[in-house]
Subunit: 679 residues, 2 copies
């Protein structure tokens, strides 16, 4: 059984003495293939299974760094039991962070563990000598002065006591050997010769707070003049800023602002042919005067845009632009880069289609072109151009019809220059595709919320969104309407349904948005029965909106946004928990901060026509409520304060008054009988 | 926005035209780091999410091969909806197989999908020309003769019809373009230029059927003579073969058969010092006359072993040897390879210990030795030696105290020469370690079954074992007792508890074993109160067993093993489903084959002292039972046939008669009133 040299070399294992295993590092998306997402100041809590054979003691560290070229910072991990370990690090800079886990079988800790359990004097003496040798090794690893000297002294002291003509009492040996202060110093100089680092380096994309929590107001600047005969301008938009600010939004989002194609321009209500003077769809990007880096002259100039961005900021609003990477037939790229467009067999350019439907005013880019590299750079250039002009939030139109690899590349490229850039993914498509786009780097994603109406649908969908690993990379942004989608519920549910839907969006999701003023002015007429398109949509014509209308929901929306600002629980998607309520027409949920200092309970009557009532059950343990304690529920919508007792309480909502409660839980009541009434 | 050459090169994406994504390939263990396990003839069902941007049609293939150097076989995957795809391949040879998934955006399928939905004549004509071009490309990819020629003809036919002075009717174009037979041929020559193969190559370890289903009988050959004054021999063991065969076992497993250390030999009942004539523990391997490749002369010679292996095979029994990689103080390796053992500070060899416990008759190998390569080869040599002498089943003692990397390496090495080798992992240790060892390649693993007694414990534990990904690599082997473990339940539960425990093991687990004859002869005296060691254990002395004893459970065990042979449902761990029964002292479960042609329902009374009864609920949908249908349950234990109706039925078990039902479900009764009685 002797081993020939060749056989020894053929073992093919680099170092068989690495005895530790690392498994199940979390969080991780697809084994580290994609980054998790966090915002500035977050603690990234990392766990892993680290263990070895036998009974030796394992030590492990979380390694983290600010960038691929920054030095690793090591944080000692704490055992949670069952070989699971945890540590965290705080991300206090924008950009891409990295983390991984390192573990090793620690001879010093193993020795210390055993030494503490030894009983016989002879045993202790021999073990003390082993310990002295290990401590001396630690001393060698430390700098010669300072800690090295201290450890060297400790090693000598322990060895001398052990060798002291067998005179040292067991208690003395134990006291010296188990010295906690000096052990802590030795542990700062571990023996890493057989340490293992996890296979993958995991990544974190760190964005600013607004990536996690934002309230979007979508607005067509073309309608800013208040006069359907005069095209709105950026200057006209300035007059809207106080109104949008009063409603509490923080992102003002414009559909594309570029020249609009004239060839095959669509008319009002999506008519195939435009009439004279029809303004066309802003998503038909490009005309003779310019493409994605030009501004439609009717809206104003680049200087006007700069001024609007400044004025918006003064109103607490950040401008978001819509990037729609497609071309109208007269976009300059058609001539400059014919290779970027697919040709039909008759030599004509392939327009967008989904047979038998045709979108002849739109030419898609061909992501299988031979010239893909140049095209990618040009498309990146579109974002770069507007970022260079101060835009930091991009709503991306139809990203699901462009190559995945492009998005991963372009978002990483843009973040390298503008780590504060935020990307909202407009993809109402297949679930895997929506998730993939989020993995590729989009900060936020449109969701199916728009079509989730029943209690079952909403509960199921938001429970799914809250699950790992999706919650690590997919930040939902809930929209009750968009210029493309007037859902059936809003067509027929009346004012209570508008209230319910916007309240659900604003409280279920830390990111939400509305397309206004169509939303707050209760616009609900559809172009066609059974369809979801708006009648007289701004997509194809100018509209004049009366923002002072008495029935406007602007005040209600302002209240919702105020509640979002006042309650940290509503500023994160973590901490959502659906509550049992014994009425199928009512949905209830709590949102809570991790420390339970802020708990908001929302109840929504999904029936816009009738009063609905039910018994709601709180999860007392999860919300930190002790048994039958009383607590106050302050409903910001009605202004009422309810005194609740224990887990089960009665709620009733009349949709004609308000279909929602948004109640903050207030505990530690001093004089609970002050609140002994029920709305 | 023009791209400079340097910028173009800096894109860092190999080919941006690869538009498809592959995610969530399953089964997979740790992203493909470890192999899944299957047995000969299994179909490996593989699923993956494959999708692309936009509306183009994706095609995907499962790629599989018999070994790393074999050619890949491509199997078309079928869509399951929601972008999930599935295909399978059959593993019909032992060894390591590989698989992965390849996907691409298919221009021909995308064209065909659109073409079928086109309506306008002009549209159809232009699209037909595009299709003809795609078909011609497929023709070029095919061999020029045969399919290539056929496709070329098809392309011409379609192009001519499209160009035919615009005369061809839409129906004609559609008929030619959508020709199914020729499309199937074109699809055999797909355009793979932009295909993507999943990042990982996934592995399957294919073993023989016995790796999945086996019944082990552990036996000390030292006690084979029937006379405590005469050491048993391999020749004596031959007389036991018919007995073990009658009980229905298929693996006869011996504790280590090597010379036993004399230094520090343990006496009877684990006494620190052996008396003269004490035989010592077989796990103290090695003495002056030899180590792991020698046979204890009291047992016989190598020739005797060969003869026993042959005779066992004639009785349907395969011999398993116990490999305990540790050394008695007088093992030859102590002198030959002192570097393989750790030294204490006083220069003595480090014995096994877990302070304050000491095992001074055992020297562990030091897996952190500088000489680890030579040691690994020597340890591999132990297995190789016995494999060379016809042993193919190895029960490995305490693998959890040896380095993980060693197991992965040695098992792969041994399988390369002996793909029919089976390895049973004896590790009663921490869950992560047990799972890791299974991932590293052990065919079967000891479990916590030995200590899982209550309904809750058993249900929870076996449910966990059945979950992905554990079920892909961890094959449990359930033991009610071992020479080391006489669990409390057997000490105090009497005969009904022995029956219940072995029935649970034999029916919950496709692999199970007992340590006999201690088990079937109801040995239940412990060395110490509160301990789990047998009194007068064969580990330290010879025993004489009376295998003809009237109270032996041999007949009951034979019945269980017969049922395992007769019911395919009991031969696999898949298809286990716990059933609701409204009595905490009763546990019930069904095991079913995938096609539901064999369904076994087991009910066990866990209370050894009292009759227990309850209403059992079957999951009608899962077991393919229609509504209130009647069916027969044939209990092989009592011989009774019950007529059951619908989902809920009554069961009652008297532990003095039998604490278990093992009932085969028989449907499609012709004359159901024949069975209208109850036990």
């Amino acid at each position: 059984m002797t081993a020939a040299g060749a056989e020894v070399r053929a073992i093919g294992v680099a170092d068989g003495r690495v005895r530790v295993a690392i498994e199940n590092v979390a969080p991780a998306v697809d084994g580290g293939r994609f980054a998790i997402k966090r915002v500035m100041g977050d603690a990234v809590v990392v766990e892993a299974d680290c263990f070895t054979d036998g009974h030796d003691i394992v030590a492990c560290q979380l390694l983290s760094r600010r960038a691929a070229d920054a030095p690793w910072l090591a944080t000692t991990m704490t055992p949670l039991g069952n070989d699971r370990w945890r540590a965290s690090f705080v991300v206090d800079a924008l950009g891409e962070w990295q983390y991984t886990v390192r573990a090793w079988v620690d001879p010093f800790l193993s020795w210390r563990h055993d030494f503490a359990r030894r009983i016989e004097a002879d045993d202790l003496r021999i073990a003390a000598l082993s310990g002295a040798a290990l401590i001396e090794q630690a001393a060698q690893r430390a700098a010669p002065a300072g800690e090295g000297e201290l450890l060297h002294g400790w090693s000598n002291e322990l060895a001398q006591a052990a060798n002291d003509a067998r005179g040292a009492a067991a208690g003395v040996l134990r006291r010296i050997g188990l010295d906690e202060a000096r052990a802590a110093i030795a542990m700062r100089h571990p023996d890493l010769r057989h340490a293992l680092t996890a296979d993958a380096v995991y990544r974190v994309t760190v964005e600013r707070e607004r990536a996690r929590c934002s309230a979007w107001y979508e607005f067509f600047p073309r309608s800013a003049s208040g006069d359907v005969t005069r095209h709105g301008t950026f200057a006209d938009c300035e007059a809207w800023l106080p109104y949008v600010q009063r409603m509490g939004f923080d992102v003002l989002y414009f559909p594309p602002i570029h020249p609009i194609g004239r060839a095959r321009r669509k008319g009002r209500n999506n008519a195939l042919d435009a009439a004279a003077g029809d303004v066309g769809s802003p998503w038909a990007v490009g005309a003779a005067e310019g493409g994605h880096d030009a501004i439609l002259s009717d809206l104003g100039t680049l200087d006007d845009l700069h001024r609007l961005i400044r004025r918006a900021a003064e109103h607490g609003l950040e401008l978001a632009l819509d990037i729609a990477l497609q071309c109208a037939p007269d976009h300059p790229w058609l001539n400059a880069h014919p290779a970027w467009f697919r040709k039909r067999a008759d030599g004509s350019v392939q327009y967008a289609e989904n047979p038998p439907k045709k979108y002849q005013d739109i030419y898609p880019l061909d992501f299988e072109t031979e010239d893909w590299r140049a095209m990618w750079l040009a498309l990146a250039g579109v974002f770069e151009y507007w970022a260079g002009h101060g835009v930091r939030i991009f709503r991306v139109d139809n990203p699901h019809t462009k190559a995945f690899a492009f998005w991963e590349w372009v978002i990483a490229r843009l973040r390298a220059s503008w780590p504060d850039a935020i990307f909202l993914c407009e993809a109402f498509t297949r679930p895997r595709v929506m998730h993939r786009l989020a993995k590729l780097g989009f900060s936020q994603s449109y969701t199916y919320f728009t079509w989730r109406n029943s209690k079952h649908e909403l509960t199921q969908y938001f429970t799914e969104l809250g699950r790992a690993p999706g919650r690590e990379y997919f930040r939902p942004n809930a929209w009750p309407n968009t210029p493309d989608i007037l859902p059936a519920a809003l067509q027929f549910g009346g004012r209570p349904m508008f209230m319910a839907r916007v309240a659900l969006a604003a409280t279920l999701c830390a990111n939400f948005g509305i397309y206004g003023p169509a939303f707050e002015l209760l616009e609900h007429a559809a172009l066609r029965e059974g369809g979801e398109e708006y009648l007289d949509s701004e997509k194809f014509e100018l509209r004049a909106w009366d923002r002072e209308r008495a029935d406007s929901l602007a005040g209600f929306i302002a209240l919702l946004n105020r509640l979002r600002r006042e309650n940290p629980a509503l500023q994160s998607d973590a901490g959502l928990r659906f509550l049992d309520i014994d009425n199928e027409q009512m949905i209830a949920y709590a949102k809570a901060t991790a420390d339970l200092t802020n708990i908001v309970v929302c109840v929504v009557n999904l029936d816009p026509h009738h009063v609905q009532s039910g018994w709601l059950t709180l999860d007392a343990a999860a919300l930190g409520l002790a048994g039958e304690q009383s607590y106050q529920m302050a409903d910001a919508i009605s202004g009422a304060h309810f005194l609740w007792h224990g887990e089960r309480n009665f709620v009733s909502l009349d949709p004609r008054r308000s279909p929602v409660h948004v109640m903050r839980m207030r505990r530690h009541l001093k004089r609970e009988h002050d609140f002994d009434y029920f709305a």
